[in-house]
Symmetry: C2
Subunit: 387 residues, 2 copies
DNA sequence: TTTGTTAGTTAGGCTGCCTAACACAAAAAG
DNA sequence: CTTTTTGTGTTAGGCAGCCTAACTAACAAA
């Protein structure tokens, strides 16, 4: 795994070179003096670092930038030697794939709509992933450099190799798909991925802690506390669909009932059951419900408000446990601004102050998140785990 | 605050010296070769580090240890120049105080039983804290070195200076007590302190993540995820007494009701209401209830089991949110091994696998935790914040 | 007393950063 | 056109903080 013939034999970079590389990966192309000042490195140190990074083509010069005065500054970006990553969102309705450089320049992307909505991970999805990855690899060009890492976002709980892998369905992705050998592989839950994406590129940018709550077919949460994604011992952190319900004196709570009560299915069933004949045909799905609610339909608005209150109550529960200060709503229902005020009102009334925001990334959140995690894995490979 | 006449003027230690100092603070007295090998420092580097640390008396030699063969090794410990810390647990029934060196050698300790159980922070407690601290400072001896930090564990929510201080009652401690000027001051919630103590010295030693759940007069949780204490934006992480309740279809949840339902008061009220005449007088308090349950009283056992189930349900909620993998039970009721099996059964049935353990530290947990936090603050002062 | 083993010091080297001073490029001033 | 000004990049040399190698010191067993 380590002595691949295309790999440079462990460059063992100096600290400043690593810092410069990280800066280019995270901040995108930049000039030498700019990087130097932002990392407070002296010009000689910058020279040495750049020279070190240019040898294995980890970085490359892409031109010169003229300021108002004085000599123009050389601009650099991550080079082909740094390689690329493949990120796959193996979702229940789509398979989304992105191939990108470590500084997130998109090399290819693919979206496959699955023939039937697969409620959970199964072999059908695995085959789709295999096909998409094969297609992406066939399109690979030498200028992309070596494949450094591959990330897979799964709609299942994900546990590390030390955990109880058997109890999750995470292994099913590999029933028809074999990941490229000798490449770092990252598995992560799709909601956690979306949280990571919102953290770095979306509605939670700059927040130290927050919760991403996905409200759609199922309900789930991704938790970031102190800039760290919280996974949990069983990969179950944020599995708020698994909350037991009801929780009241005398009632006997059932595990996992929250999902059944708060998921789209049950919600729409309640809407249909409670839809007055006078109001016309009940909406067929949540999209339609949201559409007519958005145009002022009172009956629809009432149901949306009621659901917002339920979601708000669940969020209040999470706030009382971890007090994240910020919640980003995503998913089919959560992305709608119609839900937001009701959720915010209920959550704040029932618990401690929380700001509630809508997602900024929508359906792309998951791929972008797993891409980020794959890039982090690639960096660990290139720079050698520490920090 | 920085140029106190008793303070050494910023020694600016080298990295290895800091590592050695930290090792002595955390691991207690040790020999030079032992520290060197455990930090993988060469003998010359060790020499330099020790010399550096002996100058300001941060460490001192306390003897020589003879191995089976060869020259004896010099043994060192944290010296008087490192100073000491004061840790105070301003609890609702007791004020507990510890004065200790940075390597946790106890210099004095005091325990004051408050005349009446103060349900919350008030001026009475503040006066008691002032008196105890004054007594401790009067007993101070020159060999203790300078006071480096002081920690205060409070039975309130605690927020940092950036937070909304007014909404907590944390400022009330200072109504009759003025902390020593120019000394780092650490405030922390008492349950969080207990969690920190269990993390380092108690039932959660070695666990990366866990929740400490205090079950007593009130119910609260301290959360440690990835070895980091989770405080929350409003200092409200772990405020599970504030969970809204009931949570069921049609019911309207009330904020903070969980505390009323799960606290000792309400619990004992239910016990009394449901106590059959044939079973004799109902127990007066939880201690008595636990005592007769422990000796096999079926009626008492039934109530304990019922309460264990309720606690287990709350823990299951927490597990579905953060999945800590381990829960340590503490507090008046939680410390009892009678509760444990019922809690473990319910929590595991309703959520994901969690190990449940009893506290190992009991009533001392909180002081030990705030002591630890004060020591960490003192280290930050001595070594200059980083890492 | 000798020998073997471990503890600690001294001498000297290497790495990774720094500052100072100089060479280079490009616009502005003469 | 030079010349000046200003910012970019390189070369030379220094210093902190670690290392290895080799020596001295202390102690037990032969």
């Amino acid at each position: 795994m380590d002595q691949n013939e295309t790999d440079a034999p462990k460059p063992a970079l100096t600290g400043s070179a690593r810092a410069v590389f990280r800066q280019l990966v995270e901040g995108g192309p930049s000039t030498r003096p700019h990087i130097g000042s932002s990392l407070s490195l002296s010009r000689p140190t910058m020279s040495a670092a750049i020279a070190e990074l240019e040898r294995p083509q980890y970085v490359e010069m892409i031109g010169a930038v003229r300021g108002a005065l004085g000599r123009s500054a050389a601009q650099y970006r991550v080079g082909s030697g740094a390689g690329h990553v493949i990120a796959v969102d193996a979702g229940s309705t789509h398979v989304r794939l992105r191939v990108s450089t470590l500084d997130r320049r998109l090399l290819t992307s693919r979206v496959l709509r699955l023939p039937v909505s697969q409620i959970s991970m199964n072999e059908e999805v695995s085959r789709a992933v295999a096909a998409e990855v094969a297609a992406a690899q066939a399109a690979m060009r030498p200028s992309w450099g070596p494949l450094r890492a591959m990330g897979l976002a799964l709609p299942t709980r994900v546990v590390g190799p030390t955990g109880d892998v058997a109890s999750t369905r995470q292994e099913i992705v590999f029933s028809a798909f074999t990941p490229p050998p000798g490449v770092a592989l990252v598995l992560e839950n799709n909601v956690n991925c979306a949280a990571v994406a919102e953290q770095h590129y979306g509605a939670a940018r700059g927040a130290q802690s927050f919760a991403y709550v996905q409200v759609g077919l199922k309900i789930g949460m991704g938790l970031v506390l102190g800039e760290q994604l919280v996974r949990g011992r069983n990969g179950a952190a944020g599995e708020i669909g698994h909350l037991s319900f009801p929780f009241a004196p005398g009632a006997s709570p059932q595990p996992g009932e929250a999902e059944h009560y708060l998921g789209t299915e049950a919600f729409m069933a309640r809407v249909r059951a409670d839809w007055p004949e006078a109001a016309g045909d009940a909406p067929a799905d949540t999209a339609e419900l949201l559409a007519i609610a958005g145009s002022g339909h009172v009956e629809a608005l009432r149901h949306v408000a009621r659901h917002a209150l339920d979601i708000g109550a669940v969020i209040a529960t999470c706030v009382s446990v971890v007090d994240p200060g910020l919640v980003v709503l995503g998913g089919g229902l959560g992305a709608s601004p119609l839900l937001l005020p009701g959720v915010a009102e209920a959550a704040n009334r029932l618990s401690y102050p929380v700001e509630i925001r809508n997602t900024l990334l929508g359906a792309d959140a998951t791929v972008l998140g797993i891409e980020r995690l794959a890039i982090e894995a690639a960096m660990a490979v290139l720079l050698g785990d520490e920090a």
